[in-house]
Structures are given as C-alpha cells and as structure tokens.
C-alpha cells in the first residue's frame, strides 16, 4: 500500500525532472510577459484600431475609415506639430557632440574632478517639470536672467517663450540641458575604456588633437555614440513635459509637437476626440518605428556577432 502510494508521486517528480528545463523559462517569463502584453503590446493594436473610429471616451465608437487620417493633412495644427518634431529631432542631435565635448573637457584626473563630473551630470537627475520651470524663470519677460542679459547688450529684452518664432527653440534648449548631461556621462564612461596603448602608439606617430579624436578615439567610442543617438532620438520624439510646462503649446499653437497635440486632442479641454488623437499617435509611432527598426536591426546584428 505504501509502495503504491509512493509510486505516482515518484513518476510525477520524474516527469517534472525531465521537463523542467523546457518549462522553467516559460514559468519565469509568464508574469512579466502578461503585464507587458496587457499594458504595452495590446494598447498599440487598440490604438491602431481606434484611429479608424470617432470616439469621445464614453459614447459609442463610430466607424470612420480613413477620415481621421484625411483630416490630419488639412489640419494646420498637425502640420505645425510635425514640423516642430523635425526641428526637435535635428536640434536635439546637438546633445551628442556637446556631450562629447564636455566629457573630453572633464576627462582629467585633477583633485575634486569627481564632484565636478557629478555636478555636470546633475540636470539629468531633475524632473523635466522642474527643468521647465527653471528655464521659464530664466526666460521670463522683464526680470528673467536671459531677458536681462539681452536687454543689457542690445537695450531691448526678448521674451523668448512669448515669441512664436523663438518659443520652440527656447524649449529645445531647456531639453538639451539634461540631454547633454546624459550624453556626457555615456562618453565619460566610453573614454574611460579607450585602450591606452593605442592612444600612446598614435601619439608616437604624431597624431594629436582633432586628428587623434577622429581616427583613434571616435572609432573606439562607437558603442557610446550608438546609445547616445538612440536615447537622443527617443528623447526628442517624447518631448511632452517641457512643452506642457513651459508654453502649453502656445503662443498661438506654435510650440505644439505631435506628442503634445495628441494629448490636447484626446484628453484636454479642447475636447475628447480620442479617435483623432489615436491617429496622431499612430503617425508618431510610425516615425518612431523608422528609428526603432534601425536600432533593433543593429542590436540583433551585434547579438549574433557576440555569440
């Protein structure tokens, strides 16, 4: 009796023992994948679907076909947002060389340099909401520091955030501040790992300054450059916080970007046009996809190279 009772248990244990290497990864993946599928993967498809409907968040969804997308191209606010996104992308790229510049400046071993490095990195740790408020204060008409400086030099101050031609650039500068800090820290780590013997060999061959940087150092910094470009592109396309805090898309809608305009259309007091908002989000997603697929292709290629 005792033997018979023990048998099935033994068999089940051995079934588990046989299969545990195939089953364990799936058991470990299950909770994370379930959460990720529910909150990230499924919503992407749901938004795609929604972009073909008229939906106010409460009432019935009404099928529109491609009408939301047709409306986009004749919507001047959308065109402005798209144009501003391009400006963001191009200007934001300045963070990469600027970060490299500061990293080279700080890559020394004098006393107290560690504190300098962390203080230069400081802006990245602060919330973009706070960064936005700081720069709003910096630009503020009549008493802002920048306004005063310009007034001192030219006799007439400029209220950057009130000028439709300048406001977007003003916000981008605020965004560049933490972004440069991020690129700087990436390059500082990269510089730390540059092979010293190669630098010395190149130095013996008479290489220095910019030539040394271009031919010897930059090739070795390629992984750091790759990540700096990835995070900068994503940062540029995600710009929402600063626009929302500093200008609310104004003056006259001149600082809207796709991420902000989508929010405005779908959730703010301008109405709850969630279908139309979803169409804007799909366009933003498509732009991001161009970059994501490039990044992922490179990462997969590296992955294959390593193994």
């Amino acid at each position: 009796m005792a033997v018979a009772a023990a048998l099935p248990e033994k068999r089940s244990r051995s079934w588990w023992a046989q299969n545990q290497q195939t089953l364990t990864p799936w058991l470990f993946l299950a909770p994370g994948m379930a959460m990720f599928a529910l909150y990230v993967i499924w919503p992407i498809f749901a938004s795609f679907r929604l972009s073909f409907y008229d939906y106010d968040g409460l009432g019935k969804e009404v099928w529109l076909g491609l009408d939301n997308y047709r409306e986009l191209w004749s919507d001047p606010a959308f065109v402005t947002s798209l144009k501003n996104n391009v400006i963001w992308l191009v200007m934001y790229m300045l963070a990469v060389p600027a970060g490299l510049g500061i990293a080279i400046f700080l890559n020394q071993t004098v006393r107290g340099i560690r504190i300098y490095k962390s203080l230069f990195f400081f802006p990245f740790v602060i919330s973009q909401v706070v960064v936005g408020l700081m720069f709003a204060w910096f630009y503020a008409p009549n008493f802002g520091l920048l306004y005063k400086l310009i007034e001192m030099v030219t006799g007439k101050g400029i209220a950057v955030l009130a000028d439709p031609n300048l406001a977007t650039y003003g916000i981008i500068v605020a965004g560049l501040w933490p972004q440069i800090a991020y690129c700087m820290i990436l390059y500082l780590t990269g510089l730390n790992n540059v092979a010293p013997d190669q630098v010395e060999a190149a130095r013996l061959d008479g290489a220095k300054g910019l030539r040394m940087l271009w031919y010897v150092i930059l090739p070795q910094l390629r992984p750091a450059t790759f990540i700096a470009v990835v995070v900068t592109v994503i940062g540029a396309l995600r710009s929402f916080d600063l626009v929302s805090i500093m200008t609310n898309g104004g003056p006259f809608g001149s600082t809207r970007v796709l991420s902000y305009y989508m929010y405005e259309k779908a959730l703010s007091e301008y109405g709850f046009r969630m279908g139309y908002g979803a169409a804007i989000a799909v366009v933003l997603f498509a732009i991001m996809m161009i970059f994501i697929s490039g990044f992922i292709t490179k990462m997969i290629r590296d992955e294959r190279g390593v193994r």
Partner: protein
C-alpha cells in the same frame, strides 16, 4: 588616456584648467543656481524688483510656506506611493524575465527579448487612450495603484534588457555545475543567480526610482486630484495657481527635485553603472 593628462602639460595650462573648471560649472548650472537663490528671497524683494541684488533676508520660510499653503506633503507622499511599489514590482518581474532569457536557449527567446526592447522605445501616446480605458475599467482610474501598475509593466521592458544582458554575462560553468549536482532550476535562480545580481538590482532600483519619481505624462493621464497626484503633476498645477509667485515656485521645484537628487548622490556609482550599460564593449 585622451585627452593628454593635464598633469603632463605646462604649469600655466594646469592653472588655466583649474580656473576654467569652476567657471564652466557655474555657467552650466546657471538656471539651477538662479532658482535656488530665488527660492530663498523674500516676496517683498521680488515685488520691489530686486531679482538679482543682495536679498534683504534669507527667506527660508518660503519652504515652510509651500508646505503650509499647499498639499505638497500629500503630493510627495503620493509620489512615494507610486515609486516604491513600482521599483519593487519591476525588479521582481524583470529578474525573472531576465533569468529566463539570459540562461535558457529556446525557440522564441530572441523574439521575446526584442519584443521587450522594442516596447520600451514606443511613444507613450500610442498607449495613452487604451491604458486609460483599461485602468478605468479596473476601477483604478485616479488611484496611485493604477499608476504604479502601468509603470511596473512598462519599466519591465527596460529592466528585462538590463537584467538579461547582466545574467548572460555570468559564467555559465556555475549553472552547468549546479545542474550536474542535481540542483533544481528554481534553486539555481534563488541560490546562485539572484545573489550575483545584487549590483544590477542596486543599479536598477536607483534608476527606476528616478524615472518614476520624475514621470509627468502618466501622472497627468491617470491621476486628476490632489489626493492622488504625484509631485510632478502637483507642481504643475501649483504653478498655474502661483502666478508670478516665483519664490514659491522655486522653493516648490527644489522640494520636488530633492528625493531623486539625494538618491543620485548617495548611490552615484550604481546610478551611472545603470545608465551607461552598453556604452562600453
């Protein structure tokens, strides 16, 4: 080393560098210094146009006023209520996914891994409406729990990337040896891999803490009232109420920035190790 160490150059250059460092730092942190000074200026100075001169007093009471006149302590408490569960939840999920993807070879491994990586790059706006509806459907709209649940799911993408790369760099012989000894797979996770992951866990906890504390977009989408809003959203609505009260805006900003700043200075090594993952080969 690049550039050439300053110690190998002339005395003049060395002196120049020592002078340039603090000047560059002050210029770099100008907006921050300005706000810090404004936060300590009495309201009367601002009213009389004394923005940059000597303050007539050090108005540390501006900080007290922020707490006395607003829900600041509530906002900060809410931020902790979102941030701490997110850090814990994300770490639990991603050590597990990272272990599965870093140790086992199975069909679909790379595909699942890159699904996590790609999801991490997605613009928030494409998730916004469905996530808001989903949260409302679960009865969690305008709660810190609803906000934390979303953050846990989204951050799992980034953390899986990090954890998986960390785990696949561990020596494989350790795991093989344990298997030969007949150690069960979950025991390999618990007794062998997890203890070795301490540096990765430390790095990710500081990073996630900072990311979530500083999140503004999801806070505005998923919470609406002072009783649930975290400090970023709270600060934004206070900014609307405090028109031209720059001494209070400044003090509020500094208060909101404090926790991640402290975290950064206390755990700097881990923070930077996390951020620069992949920046070196």
């Amino acid at each position: 080393m690049f550039p050439r160490p300053i110690a190998q150059t002339t005395v003049a250059k060395r002196a120049l560098y020592q002078i340039a460092l603090p000047i560059a730092l002050v210029i770099w942190l100008f907006p921050l210094l300005g706000v810090a000074l404004t936060s300590l200026r009495p309201a009367s100075d601002l009213a009389s146009g004394n923005y940059f001169g000597m303050p007539s007093a050090i108005a540390w009471w501006n900080y007290l006023d922020v707490f006395r006149n607003t829900d600041m302590e509530r906002y900060i408490f809410n931020s902790f209520k979102v941030t701490i569960p997110t850090v814990i939840g994300t770490l639990v999920l991603s050590t597990m996914t990272g272990f599965a993807l870093g140790i086992y070879k199975f069909k679909g491994n790379i595909l699942i891994f890159f699904m996590f990586v790609a999801g991490n790059f997605v613009p928030f706006q494409i998730l916004m409406v469905p996530v808001r509806d989903l949260t409302a459907g679960m009865g969690l709209y305008n709660t810190t729990t609803g906000l934390a649940l979303f953050h846990i799911a989204f951050q799992t993408g980034f953390c899986t990337l990090f954890m998986r790369n960390f785990i696949s760099a561990l020596p494989r012989e350790l795991i093989e040896a344990a298997r030969v000894e007949g150690v069960a797979e979950w025991q390999i996770f618990w007794y062998i891999v997890l203890p070795l992951m301490r540096p990765a866990i430390a790095a990710l906890s500081v990073l996630i803490f900072t990311f979530i504390w500083n999140d503004f977009f999801w806070a505005t989408v998923l919470t609406t009232s002072a009783s649930t809003q975290p400090v970023t959203a709270g600060l934004s609505s206070l900014n609307g109420q405090w028109i031209a009260a720059w001494h209070l805006v400044s003090a509020g900003s500094i208060i909101a920035a404090m926790p991640p700043v402290l975290m950064f200075f206390l755990m700097q090594k881990h923070f930077i190790a996390g951020l620069t993952l992949g920046a070196v080969k």
